[in-house]
Amino acid sequence: MLLAILVLPLLAAGALWSVPAVIGDRLAAAYGSVISGLVLVGSVLLWPQNGGWFAYGPQDEPRTEIDVAWIPSLGVRFHLGVDSISVPLIVLTALLTFLCCLYSLKITPRIGRTRSLIALLLVIETGVIGTFSALDLVLFFVCFEIVLIPMWLVIDIWGDHHDPAGRKRAANTFVLMTVFGSALMLLGFLLVQRVAGTLDIVELTSSPVRGGHGIPLVAALLIAVGLAVKVPLWPLHIWLPDAHAKAPTVGSVLLAGVLLKLGTYGMIRILVPVLPDATATIAPYLGAFSTVAIVAGSLACLAQTDVKRLIAYSSVGHMGFIGLGISTLSPAGLRGALFANIAHGLITGLLFFLAGAIKDRHDTSDLRTIGRALYARLPRIAALLTFACLASLGLPGLAGFWGEMLVLLGAYHPAPWLPRTTFLVFMVIAGLGTVLTAAYFLRLVRNLCQGDPAENPPAAFAVDLSRIELVTWAPLITLTVLLGVWPGLLLQQWGAL
């Protein structure tokens, strides 16, 4: 099943490119929706039928789907498998890709060429699912890289049509910084291979590389920095606001909803179990940078004048929470990070869909040009935006809360070999960061949704929520509420973590 959902989008993308260009955009989007819908069904079938299966740790093994020699001379194996950490992320990926294809049925970037866009989305889906299921370090790296090029093209070709130079620059910064990070990561992987003699994640997890100094530390640092670019962790986040702001709606959604998770997933999958001692050495620094990211991201949001940039920066803050959770190395913190991964994917995906909808309607994403009083002009979209903002600022009862709460709980009670006082300080600062988060989201609602309708007349072709938007967003809204009132749905999966 895993192999099927991995190969299907790739083959479908190839098929889409090989057919003559005459097929219409609608047909291409419908084709993409069917394929990604099948992948979604397949990924849901991966969900465990009965509890009590692998969550990482030496005691159990993941459900291996395929394990064959790939490059025997280097000891690289084509090893795929899933467990309770990766399945929710795979489902999230499949869901967001499906929704993006569905959205493209009616709403596409003005540049056109929807056929290629859909094909690239499917390639991205393959790469991401591959990364989430790779159990070999080199395979992980390869899949990690597969994602980059299509994303680069998506930003470069279908980005903001007002600013060709800007979108090119954004795409280049994105791809160069991430490739730079991946190179460091690969170096780290090779060091691990030198020390441990294997590249297999399962073997490495059950017999990790011990020692918090020397080569393991260097390897951990390289891997951590490489993944931190992707997360992105402050101060390596500089590619993110531009990339998000210039990318087309579907690109932003996938970028924020799925691609950022590759970094945090890598940390949880590789860094923590494979190099436990070295990770413990760097954890306080990771926590410190994450805490700075929370505050700096929120502060940067307070001064943004562009709605897409603002949401992009909000990702920096939220990913900071995830980084802090990982750095606590405690059950609560790690679970919080995993939960926040999913919640952030759903909520920020929704936020970028909404921002895209607002941008399409006003042909700009600048807050001052859009004007205020969206409650009067686009009441439904504005109400959904308020909902998404409340969810994103971590209102209890919606999905965003549990991740942040567990991360803070983890920081209050970090792993016993970490300095507790340091993490208490992180907890307090991160707690204040949640207030700043609330502040910028309320500022956004105030400057965009509220205001005097008399001074802000409706735009000429501002139609409220269309049917395709409702259909596309409804799953995200439903899941946000569902996970908010029933966090056990995910938490129970990580029972023995």
């Binding site: 709460m405 609330a438 509220q450 009132v485």
Partner: protein, 587 residues
């Protein structure tokens, strides 16, 4: 159509709460946990419970919510669907707090209430003051809720459970207990608008009046009092926390009462009076005795009735006259016009103010006397906290009477002073009071709005006797004397047509500008600094790396001359250099 559905749903939901309260009345206390999940060795999940406290609060919430929903049918015509839905959600959140036995479940209700109050205060989002008031309310309570969340961590990990009924103060170390309760107290102070987080509540007044009634009477601010009553065994086990609570409460009750005596808008007076009355409840709780808890809850119930009533009355004034500012209202007092036109409102508001002031026979009198009595018993036993509470409650009683009488007289009666006390409220334009407003269309509100008023007015009298009258005559006499002491100066000032408002009180002790300068302005600066840092420091490095790459590639391109001699020379030099290097390393 949708609006009608939500109206019916809103009223129906609040009636349902009442029904539940009635069904649960007298039932044996019970708990039920559900949807638990294991995180490490902690259990995070939900749980509900029923006991006397739950039933009492459910009844209060049900009655007030029903009154508010019914009243809103006549009051609110702008965007009714979202309004009624949000009021129902607001009520549901309070119900969650009340029935919860899990700290996280309680937190959900606690913060959803904050979000609902944000949305409802900002219901008239066209208005600037409503927008900023809503944001302020949410941010201040959110800030306090961070402390609350940390308090949950400390207590929950200290007690190894997040179930309220399983937290046993005897098994938590005293340091942890004090830290945990103090952190919870931060959340309570924010939610109940106590000093130093008091400024959001008066600024929340641009919201629709029925929402104010709901916030002030039954939900939101009452949640703070409820929480301490719920966790009373935990709180009363920590001496330090109770002392801090007593200090906060005593400072707040006097502070707020002074601010109320200088406010010039009906709703603002009432808002400050809520802050002050909540502080009275907290002071009773800070005594740490069963009597104190009982007194606080008694006052909570009576306060819910008369404060809900007063806000709904203020809503009628806003709705019918068009403003609740004293400067406008007093123009309609000529020849008793407003009294005659708004007869029911006048009578019920009189009852409400009498109950608030503590006039003997009304509900507020009895409940406040219970507080004083509980404080007296503590003081009698030689407790310093008891004395402080006793004195400040007495002083507050006098101040309360002062501002109630002041409000009542200036709102409904023409001052006998020369020319109606020119310039008592009209800053700048002293003669503004002289032009007579058109009061021919002034008439009382429809019955759908007046019926809740009458119901609550009856409650504001009857609830005083609900607990069984056990009056301490000495305390009763003293508090009556205090009421007179406060009422007489107000009357005499009104007779002379003067309303002196010290600048310090009118500016509410300068708390708002101070917070603005200490918090808002630095945060804005930091935000600008961060963006500039991203652009000019981090971004500069990235750009510099890019430029270095470009320059380097240009440099390398220059080397690709195609000249074989150059290449050969370079190769030879390289070989020689390597040979030398190898020799050096080898030796």
């Amino acid at each position: 159509m949708i609006a009608t559905v939500w109206r019916v749903a809103g009223v129906g939901f609040s009636l349902l709460i009442l029904l539940f309260a009635a069904l649960l009345y007298g039932a044996t206390p019970d708990q039920y946990a559900f949807m638990n999940s294991q995180v490490g060795d902690l259990t995070i999940g939900f749980a509900v419970r029923t006991d006397d406290l739950t039933v009492l609060l459910l009844a209060v919430v049900g009655v007030i919510a029903t009154c508010v929903q019914v009243y809103s049918l006549g009051y609110l015509h702008q965007r009714p669907a979202s309004y009624h839905a949000l009021v129902a959600l607001f009520t549901a959140a309070m119900v969650t707090v009340v029935i919860s036995d899990s700290l996280f479940f309680l937190l959900i209700g606690w913060e959803v209430m904050g979000a609902c109050s944000y949305l409802l205060i900002g219901h008239y989002w066209e208005r600037r003051d409503a927008r900023s008031g809503a944001v302020k309310a949410f941010l201040m309570t959110r800030f306090a809720d961070v402390g609350f969340l940390f308090g949950i961590f400390v207590l929950g990990l200290g007690a190894h459970t997040f179930r309220i009924s399983e937290i046993d103060p005897a098994r938590i170390s005293p340091g942890v207990l004090t830290t945990g309760t103090l952190l919870l107290l931060v959340g309570v102070v924010g939610k109940s608008a106590q000093v130093p987080l008091q400024t959001w509540l008066p600024d929340a007044m641009p919201g629709p009046s029925p929402v104010s009634a709901l916030i002030h009477a039954a939900t939101m601010v009452a949640a703070g009092v409820f929480l301490i009553a719920r966790l009373y065994t935990v709180f009363s086990a920590s001496e330090t926390t109770l002392t801090v609570l007593a200090i906060v409460a005593c400072v707040t009750m006097l502070f707020a009462a002074l601010c109320a005596s200088a406010a010039i808008e009906v709703k603002r007076v009432l808002a400050w009076s809520t802050v002050s009355q909540l502080a009275i409840m907290f002071s009773a709780l800070s005594l740490g005795t069963a009597d104190g808890r009982h007194a606080a809850l008694f006052h909570l119930v009576t306060h819910a009735a008369f404060k809900g009533l007063l806000f709904l009355c203020a809503g009628v004034l806003l709705h019918q006259v068009g403003s609740a500012a004293l400067v406008v209202l007093r123009r309609y007092t000529r020849r008793g016009k407003s009294r005659k036109a708004l007869q029911v409102t006048f009578l019920t508001m009189t009852v409400g103010l009498a109950a608030l002031a503590g006039v003997p026979g009304f509900a507020g009198f009895f409940s406040k006397d219970t507080v004083i009595e509980a404080a007296w018993e503590q003081a009698h036993d030689g407790s310093a906290v008891g004395w402080v509470v006793l004195l400040s409650v007495c002083l507050t009683a006098a101040l309360t009477a002062f501002y109630c009488v002041r409000l009542w007289l200036w709102t409904f009666f023409r001052t006998p002073a020369l020319a109606g006390g020119i310039g008592a409220f009209e800053d700048g334009d002293a003669a503004a009071d002289l032009d007579e407003p058109d009061s021919s269309k002034l008439r009382d509100a429809p019955w759908v709005m007046l019926a809740p008023l009458v119901l609550l007015a009856v409650a504001a009298i009857a609830l005083g006797y609900a607990d069984g009258v056990h009056l301490n005559w000495v305390i009763g006499l003293i508090s009556t004397a205090l009421v007179l002491l406060g009422a007489l100066p107000a009357y005499s000032l009104w007779r002379r047509g003067a309303d002196p408002r010290p600048l310090l009180l009118e500016r509410e002790f300068g708390a708002d500008p101070a917070y603005h300068g200490l918090v808002v302005v630095p945060v804005r600066w930091l935000a600008k600094l961060t963006v500039a840092g991203d652009r000019d420091v981090i971004g500069a490095y990235v750009r510099a790396v890019g430029r270095t790459g470009t320059l380097a590639s240009q440099g390398f391109r220059r080397m690709q001359t195609g000249n074989v001699q150059t290449y050969l020379t370079a190769a030879v030099i390289g070989v020689v250099a390597l040979a030398v290097l190898a020799g050096v390393i080898g030796s």
